[in-house]
Symmetry: C2
């Protein structure tokens, strides 16, 4: 018997109270109880997104939200700027291509964050660019792009919107949708929102809605304008994922009880302890700068296969983490601490990493990384 | 937000598959499906108890089983020998007194195991003693009494039975009911059986049934003979705790899949790592000998209040352990690792103990006990 630990950057662990909420009988989505439920979660989502804008709820994974964030705002032939610093930046490019959008790509070395000046320069060079696509947290590299700084660049441009993939960012660290001017913010249910996969969320600013009025791309299921018309009436255009929305109400209640600043504080504390623990164990972090608090990407040490670390964590210790993607396969492994995570998830991850490395013959001193994490996560008083 | 960890010596964590099994619709206890279910779990319980005897299932906590193990076998005025080496040994004495049984008590210093020779001497001195009551694992002190050796003493005596409280023993370490000759073995659901509280189990040997034929104590709800008559027909005399029995089927399936030797091996490995971790952290184990693999009782270090350790584990770190009872209050704290426990429960407990002690100003080196547990729990290969 080994217990299973879900420390992958999504899906993340679902709290028992949320699982219980989802086990309730299914409500019919055209019944008044559903409208009541939907109205509640719509309000609380605005709180979570720090916005007065609508936050659309879609029965889809995060990628569905990303698709809509391309198809609803741009027409074939329109120009977009894509920040590509990893697997998910790359996905923005693929989506644009699928919808006939002309892409200027800023290639960012994996492990680095984009330099906002580069974005400013590109926009200056091509004023016809209608949208900038970026990740707030690039899950494949564990790097956070400074979307606040990017918003400062984009906000003054009347015809250009900033679209943020916040799938592993929203609910992890501060993202002030309205105050910073993030036009479109996309997230998914199975990350910091502590739900199973199946819901995407998209907030849309007035500036973005204006762009949507002119867009001529085909969007039926992910038709944001149609969804907005329904959702302001606490309905959905198509059948919603009712049980997940029951779970969402429970999640929002938990997050609200903890408080937004406290949630961000906890996530930052856990991330910091994980990073310092990793370094104390003699390992190197993969991000060269601006690590995301959602997950920690760690370089496999010289002579050790990152995939073996990932595999042994799972097979020997029951811990599902993540390996590296594409050219990082075998080079890094990734541990998530977003969402329903606390001190002993970090301790568990750190202890298991040390044990796996030692098991693979790497000269690690057991307990050294753990001790650093313990030190940083000690409760005072 | 802090997560809750149940590391108390009962109730212990319930595996998700067991919780799900218990969430099934309630079956009527006189319907054929129930008889089918009951027949299945009765058979599997014999496997777990290592016996061909009946294993009665009662809707009660372990103490209900203990009460029946006095009232069904002895009459007012009968003589019993009680091994009292802790809170639960003491309980045997109280039960005997309640049912008018004359008790000879062997007082064992808390933290020590009984010397089988003492039991042999007491039985030789008083051949009228009809029953010997003992704990296989004394939960209040974390000590295991050698019931195998006691059985060797009692088995040859025609008119005397050995009654074993195995509430924190059965499913933790080897207890060969038939091979050793344990006449009555009592356990509860909320310990190594990984269920919520609410069920007691009692195996009864033929020798004990013979004694039961002559017993004249009042027993209505805990009337073992009446239960036996029903249970051999896959019924119960009174309403059974149906959902817990659905859970029990799931538990027995899990234990069977793991294998009895493997379960005992895992429990022993975890217990050993916990004890060695505690010592590596500079702390002293409370048991002077024969520690139980179910739980680890640890001495609060000089100048540190054991209750503060217990309280801080819970309040600061979300870990419910246990303090000391009676005169041990403040002197020890106890961590359970029986039942649904694995490597990272030990790591979590060890890390938290170190953090709490350091927080209380005790000069502990963070990570030292954890490292020892890591070393001992490393998966080879």
């Amino acid at each position: 018997m080994i217990k299973r630990y879900l420390l992958a950057p999504g899906p993340t662990p679902v709290p028992p109270e949320v699982l219980l909420a989802m086990a309730q009988p299914v409500i019919h989505h055209r019944a008044p109880e559903f409208a009541q439920l939907f109205g509640e979660v719509r309000e609380e989502l605005k709180w979570l997104f720090q916005t007065a804008n609508d936050v659309l709820i879609l029965a889809a994974s995060g990628t569905g939200g990303m698709e809509g964030a391309v198809s609803n705002f741009l027409s074939p032939g329109d120009r977009a700027l894509v920040v590509n610093g990893g697997k998910f930046g790359e996905r923005w490019g693929k989506l644009c291509k699928t919808f006939g959008v002309q892409v200027t790509e800023i290639k960012v070395e994996w492990g680095q964050a984009v330099d906002p000046q580069q974005v400013a320069d590109a926009l200056k060079k091509d004023p016809t660019i209608k949208a900038v696509y970026v990740q707030a947290s690039e899950t494949s590299t564990g790097v956070a792009h400074d979307v606040r700084a990017l918003a400062e660049v984009v906000r003054p441009l009347e015809g250009t919107i900033l679209v943020v993939d916040a799938i592993t960012a929203l609910g992890v660290f501060d993202l002030q949708t309205d105050a910073w001017g993030l036009d479109v913010v996309v997230t998914g249910s199975q990350k910091a929102l502590m739900l199973p996969p199946g819901l995407a969320f998209v907030s849309v600013s007035e500036k973005a809605w204006t762009l949507a009025d002119k867009a001529r791309n085909a969007a039926f299921y992910f038709n944001f304008k149609k969804e907005r018309e329904s959702q302001v009436k606490n309905q959905t255009a198509y059948t919603p994922a009712v049980s997940l929305i029951l779970g969402l109400r429970a999640v929002l209640k938990m997050l609200k009880a903890e408080g937004l600043a406290e949630v961000f504080g906890r996530q930052a504390r856990l991330a910091h302890a994980m990073r310092e623990g990793v370094k104390a164990a003699g390992l190197a972090l993969f991000p060269k700068q601006s690590p995301s608090d959602a997950l920690t990407a760690v370089c496999a040490p010289e002579g050790v296969d990152g995939q073996a670390i990932y595999k042994n964590l799972r097979v020997q210790y029951g811990i599902t983490a993540a390996g590296g993607q594409d050219h990082l396969k075998g080079k890094i492994f990734r541990i998530s601490h977003m969402g329903y995570a606390d001190t002993f998830d970090i301790i568990t991850a750190m202890a298991a990493i040390e044990m796996v490395l030692k098991g693979l013959g790497y000269p690690v001193t057991l307990g050294r990384g753990v001790a650093k994490a313990q030190e940083l996560l000690m409760v005072k008083g």
